[in-house]
């Protein structure tokens, strides 16, 4: 870092340990930031769309992840640069809010930054660029509203929803079974959706994955699946009309929080102690039994004695059920979580039609199905797949598809995919640019160019000539006044995305454009980066 000297040649020290820090200022700072952010968006560009490629990520511990989900890639990439981290958060917030379109938002932000670089080089002030982008963004949103369409569905006919979910799944490894998975997702959503409030609580849908079998074996379970086994090998494996006692207290004598000692100094006391101990166990199991329960789920373990007593009383018991799962089960079965044995009562028991243990494959693996719960609004998507990586990727894909369907229930409007909506927006924005006087015009025009990045990337990834395709599509959209024309990624011979059934939600598209614009504005505002020497170079 350069130093400033006073008239006696002594350096001014402004920052602590100034000589160890580097500082990038002004346009250079913006350029360096943009370069960092572009590195990430370039990486993701090839993952966009149904023909996008995957990334293989090896974590610090050597675990391998194969995915083309933007948010996952960025999360696992182990990014250090601060600005690049902003991009990671961008994808993350799209993932949290919408669940899908994480790759698209990063690619769009990257394209906007690239255009901003051109504008900066022309000597346009960053603030002006921001203003221009802002205006263009509004035009986009308006245009999206215009071209959006409402889809109709109800519990019996949901063909359009299937198509929307399939659009999401088509870009993933699982696309071979996209139809099947899409239907599973929709049925799951329908069983938990609240159509009155137009909302879906995704917490009620548990996605449980287990390695083994094939993707076709994936099923929707009308209830909960626990990745646990029954605590005693000879307990009943199937319980019908289950009354479930959900415990968060261990099967053991009470353990006060305050420190205490119990001194035993005589034989009598020793005997009493032993008696009391056994009494505890018997009492606990008896209480469970008396309440009428026939299944016990416990958050803690229980020792051999308790285990055997439970078995002797004909109870099916599961130990070490995790906190989240306990809550889910309680929610699903309308049971109450019972924190102390003294509070067990019949009213607090959860109810389910059937509880059963199922063994998988040739190994010891068991899972417990709790089906036909009292609360029908709790379902589990039980995924199977050939390898751990495939199952993990399936899990991520299903999450995306679930989000997509949920968004459609919140807001039934859709736009067409395949880059068609971006082209329509781009056309609207460049038309608008001509009407704006002032420097912003250039920024607005560049925004339109940036929007083209999405169809360009789609075409590139599908092995089409991107410039030819884009030009042809733009001309066709203008000529036919048809905003549904997009890139024919799958080579089906049609540009009309309605025929190809490529649906995206309006919510997701709007969010993508807004988030990307916001991020770019933020990066453009940074004009000074101070950091330790090695962080920047």
């Amino acid at each position: 870092m350069s130093l400033i000297f006073d008239e006696y040649g002594r350096p001014y020290i402004i920052l602590q340990e100034q000589e160890k820090k580097t500082r990038v200022k002004g346009l250079d700072a913006i350029r360096s930031n943009i370069a960092a952010a572009r590195t990430l968006s370039r990486t993701l560009t090839t993952s966009l769309g149904p023909k996008g490629m995957d990334k293989m990520l090896q974590s610090q511990d050597g675990d391998v992840t194969v995915t083309n989900d933007g948010a996952t890639i960025l999360k696992e990439m182990d990014v250090e640069n601060k600005v690049a981290k902003l991009m990671v958060e961008l994808a993350q917030s799209q993932d949290d809010e919408i669940g899908d379109g994480t790759t698209g938002v990063v690619v769009l932000a990257g394209a906007l930054l690239e255009q901003a670089l051109i504008l900066l080089d022309r000597g346009i002030h960053p603030t002006k660029i921001s203003e221009g982008f802002d205006k263009a963004c509004e035009v986009c949103l308006e245009r999206l509203e215009q071209i959006s369409q409402k889809i109709e569905f109800n519990e019996n006919s949901y063909e359009d929803l299937v198509k929307a979910a399939m659009t999401t799944l088509s870009s993933k490894v699982v696309n071979r079974y996209s139809r099947q998975l899409a239907e599973i997702c929709i049925k799951a959503i329908f069983s938990v959706a609240d159509f009155e409030r137009k909302d879906v609580n995704l917490d009620l849908i548990k996605v449980e994955a287990k390695v083994g079998g094939t993707l076709e074996d994936s099923v929707l379970v009308n209830g909960i699946v626990l990745d646990k086994d029954v605590s005693h090998p000879q307990m009943p494996k199937v319980v019908e009309n289950a009354k479930i006692c959900i415990l968060t207290c261990p099967f053991e004598p009470p353990k006060p929080k305050t420190k205490h000692k119990l001194d035993i100094d005589s034989v009598e006391k020793y005997r009493d102690l032993q008696k009391a101990e056994q009494e505890y166990f018997r009492d606990m199991v008896q209480r469970v039994k008396d309440s009428g329960a026939n299944v016990v789920l416990c958050q803690w373990g229980f020792d051999d004695e308790a285990n055997h007593l439970l078995y002797q009383n004909g109870l099916l018991a599961v130990r070490w059920v995790g906190g989240v799962e306990i809550e889910l089960v309680a929610m699903a079965t309308h049971g109450r979580i019972i924190p102390r044995f003294s509070e067990i009562s019949e009213k607090k028991l959860g109810k389910a039609g059937k509880v059963r243990e199922v063994s998988l494959g040739t190994t010891h693996d068991h899972v417990i199905f709790i089906e036909d719960c009292a609360n029908s609004k709790a379902v589990t998507i039980f995924l199977r797949g050939g390898s751990k990586m495939a199952v993990d990727e399936a899990k991520r894909s299903v999450h995306d598809a679930l989000c997509q369907v949920r968004n459609l229930i919140r807001d039934q409007r859709i736009v067409y995919g395949g880059g068609s909506s971006e082209i329509a927006c781009s056309l609207a924005v460049s038309e608008f640019a001509d009407k704006v006087s002032g420097v912003e015009q250039y920024a607005i025009r560049c925004f339109a160019d940036a929007l083209d990045a999405i169809p360009t990337a789609l075409a590139d990834n599908s092995g089409l000539s991107s410039l030819d395709t884009l030009g042809a599509l733009k001309a066709a959209q203008l000529k036919e006044k048809n905003p549904r024309l997009g890139v024919d990624c799958l080579g089906l011979g049609s540009w009309d995305m309605k025929e190809q059934n490529v649906y995206e939600t309006l919510l997701s598209k709007k969010q993508q454009i807004q988030l990307a614009t916001q991020l770019v504005k933020m990066i453009l505002k940074i004009d000074d980066v101070i950091g330790p020497t090695d962080a920047l170079t």
Partner: protein, 530 residues
């Protein structure tokens, strides 16, 4: 418009030591890794495959030709290779056999894909071609599959031949008839359950492999307490899991504090008495044999001996569970309600000898699911490999009992699928057909590897087989004894349909996953604390 380039120092985006490989470079690194792994296990494929010696860091030696075992034991740093290891592991968990084949098929698919990519075909086109091909292959396989579920005798015969086929590629090949019979008998006892825990292996060095046998009862590798009855007829067995020294005090914070030596003695006395009461309770169950998972100390043992009860200590957890299963008893931890406890029953408990070791044999048991396979062999390595081989066979058989479809082995199933895939390729317009053809070549590479490993002229054999299949002879396969094309139906080379279909679908899945990758990001390994 030319995008102006940023002139300053390139910003550091990823964490230090994190490496990124892109595009061609990434593809090359994953292909090379996967192919290297495939070449590693390739030579073990088929009846004449070679074995590998694996030496662990601690110096233990394993001799095996089981793909999953080999792959599990090699340390791999290549991400793509890890995917192959993973699929072969899953194959092992799901089916139990075919672990080498699945890895080889995935490798061959990648080898073909590499050629296609070199010819400038987009990876996604290769992937979609492979998918079409895999569907066609699976359909052809399903059409050719035979199901003998209805006819039990026929099913039993099928199982026997499948076991023979599976075992032929293993160390047990010399006495495969013998072992196939053992495996079939053992699996049929399970009556459709796939829980192989019920089949116990006992390995004793000495004798030779053909001295191995299936024992209908249950064998516990334990010795009896001194002075206890050596033979009990009509045994009533109590199987327990309980501490037999002193019970742990389970009330938190309780401790024993005494102020004189006398008290110590008294408490010790009370402790002992408590134990004896427990023993008395156990005996009150009216038993004549007591098996505990935990240790039985001398005093209780002596007490049992005095009451004519046979006491067996420290049977491991699996042993206890199995014993409970065979004898129909339950595993007990409290003894206050003798009337509620289900005791195990068996006709005869006696001390037996295997080799030079004394064991306890429970025969004529109440339930008949479980059994014991006693393996004999010259050294530990042979026994371990024999166990692995037999375990593979048992896995396949237990799956086949439920999914009883079978197909012909000896490469005929692969040739059959390859033919269907080839036929499909001719009907596809467009570049995908090249990928479909590649898939067929990869399928044919499997029998070629088998033939190569056996030292035959693979090219000649494969083309003869292809011609035979083209003529409609769906039973043509490699006759591994004579090095000619033979009729698999006559040679009784059968394989499980589930195994083959699983192999094709998971190998395709894995290959697809690797082909689709265009970027590899490796995080720096976590620093270990020195």
């Amino acid at each position: 418009m030319q995008v102006p380039r940023y002139q300053g120092p390139a910003p550091h985006v990823l964490k230090r030591d994190t490496s990124e490989e892109k595009g061609e470079e990434a593809r090359m690194s994953s292909f090379i890794g996967a192919l290297a792994l495939c070449d590693l296990v390739k030579t073990t494929l088929g009846p004449k495959g070679m074995d590998k010696i694996l030496q662990s860091a601690s110096g233990d030696i394993i001799v095996t030709n089981d793909g999953a075992t080999i792959l599990k034991s090699v340390n791999i740093d290549n991400a793509a290779a890890k995917i192959l290891v993973d699929i072969s592991k899953t194959q092992d968990d799901e089916i139990g056999d075919g672990t080498t084949s699945v890895c080889c098929l995935a490798g061959e698919l990648l080898r073909e894909a590499e050629k296609l990519l070199d010819a400038k075909i987009h990876p996604q086109i290769v992937v979609s071609g492979y998918r079409l091909a895999a569907n066609a292959a699976l359909k052809a396989l399903e059409d050719a599959a035979m199901d003998h579920k209805a006819n039990f005798e026929q099913l039993k015969e099928d199982l026997f031949y499948i076991a023979k086929t599976t075992l032929s590629s293993k160390l047990l090949a010399q006495s495969r008839d013998h072992f196939a019979k053992i495996a079939v008998d053992a699996v049929l006892r399970l009556k459709g359950s796939t829980n192989l825990d019920h089949i116990q292996f006992i390995k004793k060095t000495g004798g030779n492999l053909s001295d191995s046998y299936l024992d209908e009862g249950f064998i516990l590798e334990k010795s009896l307490g001194v002075g206890q009855p050596k033979r009990i007829e009509n045994a009533k067995i109590l199987i327990a899991n309980t501490p037999m020294d002193t019970d742990k005090i389970k009330i938190y914070g309780a401790r024993v504090r005494v102020d004189s030596y006398n008290k110590v003695a008294e408490i010790e006395e009370a402790e002992q008495k408590k134990m004896m009461e427990k023993c008395q309770k156990i005996i009150n169950h009216g038993i004549n044999c007591f098996v505990n998972r935990q240790l039985i100390y001398n005093r209780p043992e002596q007490f049992f001996t005095d009451h004519g009860v046979m006491a067996i200590e420290h049977a491991d957890f699996d042993g206890v569970e199995r014993l409970a299963l065979v004898t129909g008893g339950e595993v007990v931890s409290t003894f206050d309600h003798p009337e509620l406890v289900k005791l195990g029953h068996c006709g005869l408990i006696e001390e037996a000898m295997i080799g030079e070791d004394r064991v306890i044999r429970f025969s004529n048991c109440a339930a008949k699911e479980a059994c014991t396979i006693v393996l004999r062999g010259a050294n530990k390595q042979i026994l371990d490999e024999a166990e692995r081989s037999l375990h593979d066979a048992l896995c396949v058989l237990s799956q086949t009992v439920n999914h009883s479809k079978v197909v012909y082995g000896g490469g005929s199933a692969e040739m059959l699928m390859a033919k269907a895939v080839d036929d499909l390729a001719k009907t596809i317009p467009g570049k995908q057909s090249l990928a479909v053809e590649g898939f067929a070549r990869a399928l044919r590479a499997i029998p070629a590897i088998v033939a190569d490993n056996a030292g035959f002229d693979a090219t000649e054999l494969i083309s003869e087989m292809r011609a035979a299949h083209q003529k409609g002879d769906k039973e043509a396969g490699i006759d591994i004894q004579n090095g000619t094309v033979g009729n698999m139906a006559k040679l009784h080379v059968l394989e499980s349909f589930k195994l083959k279909s699983y192999m094709v679908s998971s190998a395709t899945e894995a290959a697809e996953m690797i082909i689709r990758v265009d970027d590899i990001i490796k995080a720096a390994p976590r620093r270990r604390e020195e």
